[in-house]
């Protein structure tokens, strides 16, 4: 038996049910969220959960975040540091 599953199976199950219910709620709402880009981002995040990565939490965080641009100093007009 897996000790983490022993400890957390019911909690994880509850989280998944909450997630399922949240998507059902989105589908039920009268002003359809089907074309909202936020809905697409949520669905893409679900895809990360079912992937093979062992860094799912990090991948989901990056998925929802703005990208880093290494040239931000130049774009803001700061002198380049060497």
């Amino acid at each position: 038996m897996n000790s983490t599953l022993d400890r957390e199976f019911l909690e994880i199950r509850a989280l998944i049910v909450q997630l399922a219910a949240a998507f059902d709620r989105l589908d039920r709402c009268p002003d359809s969220a089907a074309d909202d880009p936020r809905r697409h981002r949520l669905e893409a995040a679900i895809g990360i959960l079912t992937g093979a990565s062992q860094m799912r939490a990090e991948q989901v965080q990056l998925h929802f975040g703005k990208p880093y641009e290494a040239e931000w100093r130049e774009k803001m007009g700061f002198a380049k540091t060497t």
Partner: protein
């Protein structure tokens, strides 16, 4: 178990919260200057706030045997007003010798703007000129990754800064490695919705180890739990982590980081 909360905004909490913290084992805490929920209009408002942090809160904490320390700055949300920010930064040295002041913080970025970056770099200069520890706020949600990387860039640009004297706070799964690998301390903030849960914080400890890693509650005027650090202790116990590792995270590590300030003097009883 005795613990130290290195980031909690007690000006927003009741005296009952101090008593609860003491009952839960909190022996010391540090309170960074932050946003009051509205933009302050003048430097005089900040002077009064710094008096509250250096005179009033230590007395409230002492009633319950808690040692109160603090950090001074103008926060990133108000940094869009560069003129006011410079007035506040010019006034901060008046307070640096007060016995509970540990350094400059929580400085950082909010929306990752040019003005925020200017004020952040000027705070770094202030800290370097006065040999102060630095406590850094990183942005929330979609701005966190970009903002944290920008902050690391600016920290690494300033060769005067000693990385072991800087703590980058509010790290999450996508930012913790970059902070630790660059040689800085990292703080995980246990805060509902926008930051990190106790379970996820323990996951990060299991992945990244316990060196230069602290946890805090950031308890403030928003939805937050001032007793979040004991929640983490419970989660670590639940997973079977040894007492020595738990103590390192909630007591030894913050004591080591904060203890780099000559003002941090933990009582012998702790």
């Amino acid at each position: 178990m005795d613990y130290i909360d290195p980031h909690i905004h007690m000006v927003s909490r009741t005296t009952d919260d101090y008593e609860t913290l003491a009952r839960m084992g909190c022996v010391a805490l540090s309170e960074p200057a932050f946003w009051a929920g509205f933009d302050r209009g003048t430097v005089h408002g900040f002077r009064d706030y710094f008096r509250q942090l250096t005179e009033i809160e230590p007395r409230r904490a002492a009633q319950f045997g808690i040692q109160h320390y603090t950090w001074l700055c103008i926060n990133a949300k108000e940094a869009e007003n560069v003129e006011l920010s410079r007035e506040v930064m010019a006034m901060i040295p008046e307070f640096l010798d007060r016995p509970n002041v540990l350094g400059i913080g929580e400085i950082g970025l909010n929306k990752n703007t040019r003005n925020e970056s200017i004020v952040f770099q000027e705070h770094l200069d202030l800290a370097a000129r006065h040999n102060q520890l630095i406590l850094i706020h990183t942005p929330h949600l979609e701005d966190k990754y970009q903002g944290t990387r920008m902050i690391l860039d600016m920290l690494c640009d300033d060769a005067r800064l000693q990385r072991h004297r800087v703590l980058v706070d509010h790290v999450e799964e996508h930012t913790v490695a970059a902070v630790l690998e660059a040689g800085f301390w990292a703080g995980m903030t246990l805060y509902p919705v926008t930051k990190c849960t106790p379970a996820r914080a323990v996951d990060m400890i299991e992945r990244h180890g316990s060196e230069r890693l602290c946890v805090n509650s950031a308890g403030d005027w928003g939805p937050s739990r001032p007793t979040a650090v004991p929640d983490l202790i419970m989660e670590m116990k639940r997973r079977g982590h040894p007492h020595s590792l738990i103590r390192k995270i909630v007591f030894d590590n913050p004591r080591e980081f904060l203890g780099q300030s000559p003002h941090f003097k933990l009582s012998e009883n702790s």
